[in-house]
Amino acid sequence: MTRVDRLRTRLATAGRRLRRIARIARWELGQSTSSYNRRTLAVIAVLVVVVASVGTSAVALGVASPSPNTDIYRVGVADNSPYTAVIDDHASLTARPPDRTALATGEIDLLIGGVRQPTAGPGPRSPTLLVEPADGEKGDAALTAFRSAVQSYNDRAMALEPNRTAAYPVVVELQYIPQSTLGPAAPTNAGNLTGDDTPGDDADSDDGTDTDANDTDTNGTAGNVDGGPASGSGDNTTATDNTDSDAPPVADGGGGSLLDRALFGGGTSGSPAEIQPPFPFGSLLLAFLFLVPMNFVIQSYGSSVLNERISRRGELLLVAPVERLDIVAGKTLPYAAIAVATTAIIAAAIGGSLLSVAAVVPIAMTFLAATFLGAMFARSFKELTFVTITITVFLTSYVFIPSIFTNVTPIALISPLTLVVMELQGEAVTLGSYLFSTGPFYTSTAVLFLLGTGVYREEDMFSQKPVPLKFLDALDARLSGIRSVGVLTALFLPFVFIAELLAIAVLFVLPIEVSIPLILVVIAAVEEVAKSVHVFAGFESDRFDRSVRTALLLGIASGIGFFVAEKFTVVAQLVGLPNLQLGEAALQPAGIGITPSTSLLLLAGPLVLHTVTTGVAALGARKNLWWYLVSLVAATVIHAAYNFGVVTLYG
């Protein structure tokens, strides 16, 4: 057979496989949609339309929440008073004719009098509004509500003021500096800014003015309002237009858009009163928007996979001339397509680009892959529910919590959602950052599908083996010889990476003296498990003979596999994670970030370490579970001691 013939044969085979995958995908889509009958779909559609219509209309009309506080305080105020507009604008206040008798009889709760001008003697130096509350708690509450109404009214009026300098004599601009670049001494310009932002300073200055303002709320505001109460109409969009003038940038500057303010809280420039501490509302919203639909997709996907197993329908596909991988691909394709389409729609809706889609899609794929493996392990729908909830909680936490710290620490980059936040904030995302964030997700997806496909076979699909045994089967299915042990170890690296980064993310809040030793032990344990658990699976399935020689060979193969794959963590350097002290602690024992003079020694060090410790674990694994656990602890202790040594010597 010539090379051309071989190529032709391969292409024909590939074509047939693709056709079968497409056929299975089409069938799977039909199956999953037919599980919802037309009436159910119609009811869901009607409900969605009704909720959306009512919600939209309510928001548009401003009646989204008919408040029980409406018109509860009756305020006596003259029709020509500038405060009539204030009262009309406030939901809990309602205007009544100013009548002192009514105040005495309780028919009104508050009486707005005239404005007393400042006098030359002691007393207020600004005009003072005379307000008289009714006796009792309701009168006091009415006064408080009125103060709040005046404050809000004035804020709106200031926002409309064309003369920005007059409206905001003091403007501050905040710049959040990542924790890792923040040295012991406050550096340069940024240091001053963050220094200003320290809670103590802020609280002191703000409290001072606020107190004054409160004291003179009913005083000072009168003067301001007198200056230009106008009608108070207009909205915030006018304020945005006003920024075109040469006024100070209230709603301008990086991260200062209305969307950013809505998503990421507070804004970073404007008057002191406008600036609030950043609240991770954006990350929360993104997590909600992107991840919630995925939960529906994985529920449907997991049910489909498990249903094939419980009903034994999948057996007929297994006996058809279709590769297992093709069956899995065909069954997964519709759900993957739905996840990608949903992600794209949401990204477009929030103003994200293709980058946002590319950042979230690997999360969706990991959701599907984890669900697939979970559905292959679960023995009932009850177990599947547990699995999917676990996946949802873990992955949601993994992608959501770090993204809260987008502007604080580079650790946030372990979550691809951080890339979305960065994009929406107008920050550049480098290829290194993208690979760092999404790489573990892509590779984890591949490994999870690989493991799941390994047990997509008669003996595992339709049996009621306990989950741990199925897990061992899944590992064993990917073993063929000693070399395969090393390959599988290398494939586990994404999980090791995820577990270690998660540990760093969780532990970095602790004092450095505690967190570094802790992280070194956790990392040692994670790596030892990753290097030896499949060796144990191979022994348990009698794939390997239980001799000492075989155990040591397996340990060496696994150690080498881990050592080679570990070098890929060099990606971490691209985003500067090792600059963080914890990052150094985590990654430098692997030989990363070491000076050339020591690199040779430390290149050999990890290699010896990994082969020795895995050899120790393998010696226990060849016997039974108990001995495996004992040897695993021993290997972890050796590994942790090595880590301490490296950090002490070179840290």
């Binding site: 047939r16 056709r19 079968r20 056929r23 299975i24 069938w27 039909g30 199956q31 037919s34 599980s35 009903s311 034994r312 329908r313 057996e315 007929l316 596909l317 297994l318 006996v319 058809a320 001339p321 279709v322 590769e323 076979r457 008669e458 003996e459």
Partner: protein, 316 residues
């Protein structure tokens, strides 16, 4: 067409199949019988490539049983073959025809002719809404959608009513005429006896008897002769109809009774041969009770021998 040698499957310490060895010719219907847990289904699934043998080899239509190409030559009907209930018979069969790369035109004609042969109605009705017998027929049709040379049927008539059972058994026999090779497993030995050319009996993972039903009968069964005379003789018992019956195991004993009856002035009026059923041989070999009861259509009078009746004139 099928060659099995040293086939073995173990799960830890448990041996499900131990060193199975047999060959099946083209066009043969081959029965695999045995009690629950005997290793029948495991053997069939190893032949279908669903289960990887621990040791030994199995070739089907010239391919190793694990070779995906072999599946083009195979039709498999598992004991439980739940269908996709939201599909119709036609769409279900077309789906599998696509997976087997059967061209659309060929698939359409083949599906219709198979459904005709199986006398299947309601071809466009949701499979969830049709009877169990209909579902089983659809499953059988699916096993033929790729026109395979080899068919593996595991309990094809399990749980079906007598009428459908007969229909399925007749259809299985017709497959022999199509030159198909069929491996047929059943709990009901009368089904096996009526359909299969050769049989293996399995127990605890091992083949304990093999050959045609007649061979097995000869090898393991004891034929008895019921000799009826109009005269009381030594060793005879009176029957309800006034005759006298002796039960003997050899023809020499029969001849001796004939001679004795003649000497006594009487005659032998009837000789009946009682051949052992596969079930009785099976029970004797395995020392177990068959799990499934006989259905109405299988029922034959067990107490009274009915086969090979001889009038006295024909008696030797």
């Amino acid at each position: 067409m099928i060659e099995v040698s040293g086939l073995r499957k173990t799960y830890g310490d448990f041996a499900a199949v131990v060193d199975s060895k047999f060959e099946i010719d083209r066009g043969e219907i081959f029965g695999v019988v045995g009690p629950n847990g005997a290793g029948k289904t495991t053997t069939l699934k190893m032949l279908a490539g669903l289960i990887e043998p621990t040791a030994g080899t199995a070739t089907v239509a010239g391919y190793d049983a694990g070779d995906p190409e072999m599946r083009h030559q195979l039709g498999f009907l598992p004991e439980e073959s739940p269908l996709y209930e939201d599909m119709t018979a036609r769409s279900y069969l077309r789906f599998f025809a696509d997976l087997y790369d059967v061209p659309h035109e060929v698939a359409r004609d083949r599906i219709e002719s198979t459904l005709d042969r199986l006398d299947l109605e309601y071809r466009d009705r949701r499979l969830g809404d049709v009877s169990k017998g209909m579902k089983r027929k659809v499953a059988i049709a699916r096993s033929l959608v790729n026109d395979p040379d080899v068919l593996i049927y595991d309990e094809p008539a399990s749980g079906l009513d007598p009428l459908t059972t007969n229909s399925v058994l007749e259809f299985t026999e017709e497959l022999r005429e199509d030159d198909k090779t069929v491996i047929f497993s059943a709990h009901n030995l009368y089904h096996v006896e009526s359909v299969c050319d050769r049989v293996v009996i399995m127990n605890e993972g091992r083949i304990i008897a093999r050959g045609s039903v007649a061979d097995i009968r000869d090898q393991y069964g004891d034929t008895t002769y019921h000799v009826y005379s109009d005269t009381a003789l030594d060793g005879t018992d009176p029957t309800a109809d006034g005759r006298h019956r002796a039960v003997v195991e050899t023809m020499a004993e029969v001849e001796a009774i004939q001679a004795a009856a003649t000497d006594a002035g009487g005659s032998v009026t009837d000789i009946r041969t009682d051949e052992p059923s596969l079930e009785s041989i099976f029970l004797e070999l395995t020392g177990q009770q068959m799990p499934s009861p006989r259905t109405a259509t299988d029922t034959e009078p067990a107490s009274e021998p009915t086969t090979d009746q001889h009038e006295v004139e024909d008696a030797p």
